[in-house]
Amino acid sequence: MSFITILFYAVSALMIFTAVRTVTAVHVFRSALYLAATLSLVAVQYLLLGAEFVAVVQLLVYVGAVIVLIIFAVMLTAQLGDERISQTNRLALPAALGCGAVFYLMGWALTATDWSKITPAPADPALQGASGNLQAVGLSLLSTYVYPFEIVGLILFTALVGAVLIARKDLEASASTLRPRPEALEGPPKGGEVPQ
């Protein structure tokens, strides 16, 4: 039993524990914190697998941005008395059974497959001579995966615009908060035009 193996098992066990707490905590805020912990542990797993860039991106984006966003949402939508009501709905038992079945199914399918029969994918020639994971990822982002890279940028832009649109207040409500134009302050306009 080497140190790495023990580390792997410890991280895995802890990940499972925090994940379970994420979905069972009564306080939503604690649930969010547990999620943060789970995601960080996933980053550790990435490191153990040698995907350093992905691990860092995970920490930056997920833990750094998504969790913050989630906490914002929790704060914005918190209500008094939330903690007194159970956060788990009535479907807990059937859902547990279903999820157990899913886990069993996937686990059995994945472990029953003989992965040694798969020939490993060849190395990308564009990444010849890259030193380390980071350089390889950077190079491939701009060569092999340049299209997805650009399109993802577009998607992010769309999501940004969409989120702003969805989350802003109604037009009529916002119109009433606009200040009237200076000309309209002189009195009722002749001809009965409504100021835009």
Partner: protein
């Protein structure tokens, strides 16, 4: 379509009259009747011309097109012809129908003069004439059926002409419904005929029947077909048990009774049987004695109705039952086959003449006395001489006194009965002849003789009514002479039934086979095999042994009807052994009526009282109507009640149950629509898991 003769015009002329009257002159009492009369008279003239042409060339002329034509492997070629078939039988009917119709049109101008719906009456008359003419010219049973129903419709319209009289409405409905019962059987007969024989066209019946196998188990199909077709005649020609509509049909105006219920429509049944007689004859040869059933029905009807006619006091009822009785006579004649077919049709012809005369004469009387009741009539001969003398001519004719028409036709019927070996039926027919003479002269003496009511202002009818009477009286006298021999041009030479030569040969062969192989008669396969074996020197009947067996057992083996002799001449033969008793019977009936009703030798009321329950039974028409009412109320409505219950509770219940089940399921399934997305997602997960597990099980990888 090319027409070889203008026979198609004959029905179209009254139809044209009907259409023009219907479109333009519906309210014109002055124009419509005259136009209708003109159309029918023109049709009559054309019919006479056509009849003369047929007498010169009696071969059937068919102008038709195939309305429906199917060719397949099962039936070969099947077609329904529509068009006209002009042969001696249809030419005769054309003349009779248009002639009587024209006379009735003329008569109605006077009789119906004060009626409200005069134009409507002539509309219906024209429509009826068209329908009847279309019926007699039909080349196929299908076209005939169409016109058959049309004629029934016109009868309904005309019986119910006085639509504000509830009795008239009920009578017209009764006529139509009872007719319909017969028509149902007839239609099935037509369908089965088409199926078994592959055709329903009259000219094709003979050739198709020639191949009918006559040896073996009794081939029920032909017999069933014949009897089903006969059901149509039972309905239309008012035979027992579908006779009940004809007496009630007297609710219609008297000209209607004369035209439809005496001369033409009721004769359609007789006409149809005569047209399709080959089917009956071949059925007889295949040992299903359909003609005998026909004869029995006709014979029973004739004696049944004759007895009722003796007791009725309504002048039209007496004539109605007389019509029933004479129709029974015609059907009886048809049922004995051979010469009987000619005799039956000939009686149809003569009966049309004198029965129309009698009805129109009774109409004249009713018009004068304003009553139908014989007990309120009497002594009319002095006041209405033309009516009286013409009526007397009709009575003498129907009684069968020579040399008037009735004698010739009745004598032919009696001769046919005697020759084809039905002694019981011969005696029955003679008894009916006696009754016929008796009740007709009872009617005459009660209405026209005696003192009558001195205060009545009955007077002779106008010319439009008396002219038809005179014309018909002349016909009643002379019509019988058509059957007298006249170098091959007598009635029987034109209209007769002749068994096909092939059928005759087949019958002989069947008889021989039955003599030699009696055991095969009950065995379908053996019979068919034997029948299919051609006659030749090596097999079958020509060996000496079988020939000996043949001669020994031929007559005893199979009881079939004697073959029809082919007479040298089909003209009227004066057989004194038949003519003298018939005439004496007629005179005896007249004498009895004279004695009872003119000279009061016996008081008829005391006789009736003396007969007691028998008299009541006969007077009430043997309670047939009451029996039918009872059947309807207790049997028919019970059955229909049960069926209605079934329809309401089982059929509708099933439908309602399905609806209820759908609602129930829906309400149950509604509970699954919680509106909560997570529940739906769980459902999807569950479905997915089931699918995956099932697939894994099926693919055997689990």
């Amino acid at each position: 379509m090319h027409f070889s003769n203008p026979s198609y015009l004959v029905p179209l002329l009254p139809l044209g009259g009907f259409l023009i009257n219907f479109l333009f002159f519906r309210k014109r009492r002055d124009v419509a009747p005259l136009l209708a009369l003109l159309a029918v008279t023109a049709a009559f003239g054309l019919s006479l011309w056509l009849a003369l042409g047929v007498m010169a060339d009696p071969a059937p002329k068919l102008d038709s097109l195939d309305w429906l034509s199917v060719t397949n492997q099962v039936f070969g070629h099947f077609s329904i012809q529509v068009g006209t078939l002009l042969d001696p039988l249809s030419a005769l009917m054309l003349v009779v129908v248009t002639g009587v119709s024209a006379l009735v049109h003329l008569y109605s101008l006077g009789y119906m003069h004060e009626e409200e719906g005069l134009a409507r009456f002539f509309l219906y008359l024209g429509l009826f004439t068209f329908s009847m003419l279309g019926l007699v010219l039909s080349p196929s049973l299908y076209q005939m059926y169409i016109f058959w129903e049309l004629v029934g419709l016109c009868s309904y319209l005309l019986i119910g002409f006085y639509y504000d009289k509830p009795s008239a409405n009920q009578a017209s409905k009764k006529a139509f419904v009872v007719n319909r019962v017969g028509d149902l059987g007839m239609f099935f007969g037509i369908l089965f005929l088409s199926y078994y024989l592959g055709t329903a066209n009259f000219l094709e019946l003979g050739p198709k029947l020639a191949g009918w196998p006559l040896f073996g188990p009794a081939w029920l199909p032909l017999g069933a077909v014949a009897l089903l077709l006969f059901m149509g005649a039972v309905g239309k020609s008012a035979q027992f048990p579908l006779h009940v509509w004809l007496p009630d049909a007297m609710e219609g105006p008297t000209p209607v009774s004369a035209l439809i219920h005496a001369a033409t429509m009721v004769a359609a049944g007789v006409f149809m049987v005569a047209r399709t007689y080959a089917v009956f004859d071949t059925a007889l040869l295949s040992s299903v004695d359909a003609p005998f059933v026909v004869a029995c029905v006709g014979g029973f009807t004739s004696i049944f109705a004759a007895t009722i006619a003796c007791t009725q006091f309504d002048i039209k009822r007496v004539l109605a039952y007389s019509t029933l009785s004479q129709l029974g006579y015609m059907v009886l004649a048809l049922g004995v086959g051979g010469l009987g077919v000619t005799a039956g049709v000939f009686h149809l012809f003569t009966h049309a003449c004198f029965k129309a005369l009698l009805f129109l004469g009774s109409g004249s009387v009713i018009h004068a006395v304003h009553s139908n009741d014989l007990r309120q009539m009497g002594g009319l001969r002095k006041r209405m001489p033309v009516t009286a003398w013409t009526f007397l001519a009709g009575c003498v004719a129907i009684a069968g006194v020579p040399p008037l028409a009735g004698f010739f036709s009745k004598d032919e019927i009696l001769a046919a009965l005697k020759e084809t070996g039905h002694p019981g039926l011969y005696i029955l027919a003679s008894v009916v002849a006696f009754f016929t003479a008796f009740y007709m002269f009872r009617l005459y003496f009660l209405a026209f003789e005696g003192e009558g009511d001195p205060h009545s202002h009955a007077h002779e009818s106008p010319a439009t009514m008396t002219i038809p009477l005179v014309v018909l009286a002349l016909c009643s006298v002379a019509a019988g002479w058509a059957s007298l021999p006249g170098n091959g041009r007598s009635f029987g030479d034109y209209i007769h039934f002749e068994r096909g030569a092939q059928v005759q040969a087949d019958w002989t062969r069947a008889t021989d086979l039955a003599a030699v192989h009696p055991e095969a008669q009950g065995d379908y396969r053996a019979a068919t095999a034997l029948w299919a074996t051609p006659l030749d020197g090596a097999k079958g009947l020509s060996s000496t042994a079988s020939a000996a067996a043949l001669s020994a057992t031929a007559s005893a083996a199979v009881p079939v009807a004697a073959p029809v002799p082919a007479p040298e001449s089909r003209a009227f033969k004066l057989d004194l052994g038949v003519a003298v008793p018939a005439t004496l019977i007629g005179l005896a009936g007249i004498l009895l009526a004279f004695g009872v009703y003119r000279r009061r030798w016996v008081d008829p009321a005391r006789v009736a009282a003396g007969l007691g329950p028998i008299y009541t039974l006969v007077y009430n028409k043997y309670y047939v109507d009451e029996f039918y009412r009872w059947m309807m109320d207790h049997v028919y409505y019970a059955v229909s009640g049960a069926i209605a219950w079934f329809d309401r509770h089982v059929v509708d219940g099933l439908m309602n149950g399905l609806a209820w089940a759908a609602q129930f399921l829906g309400a149950g399934l509604r509970k699954a629509q919680t509106g909560r997305v997570q529940a739906y997602a769980l459902g999807m997960l569950a479905g997915l898991l089931i699918l995956v597990f099932t697939a894994m099980k099926l693919l055997g990888s689990y």
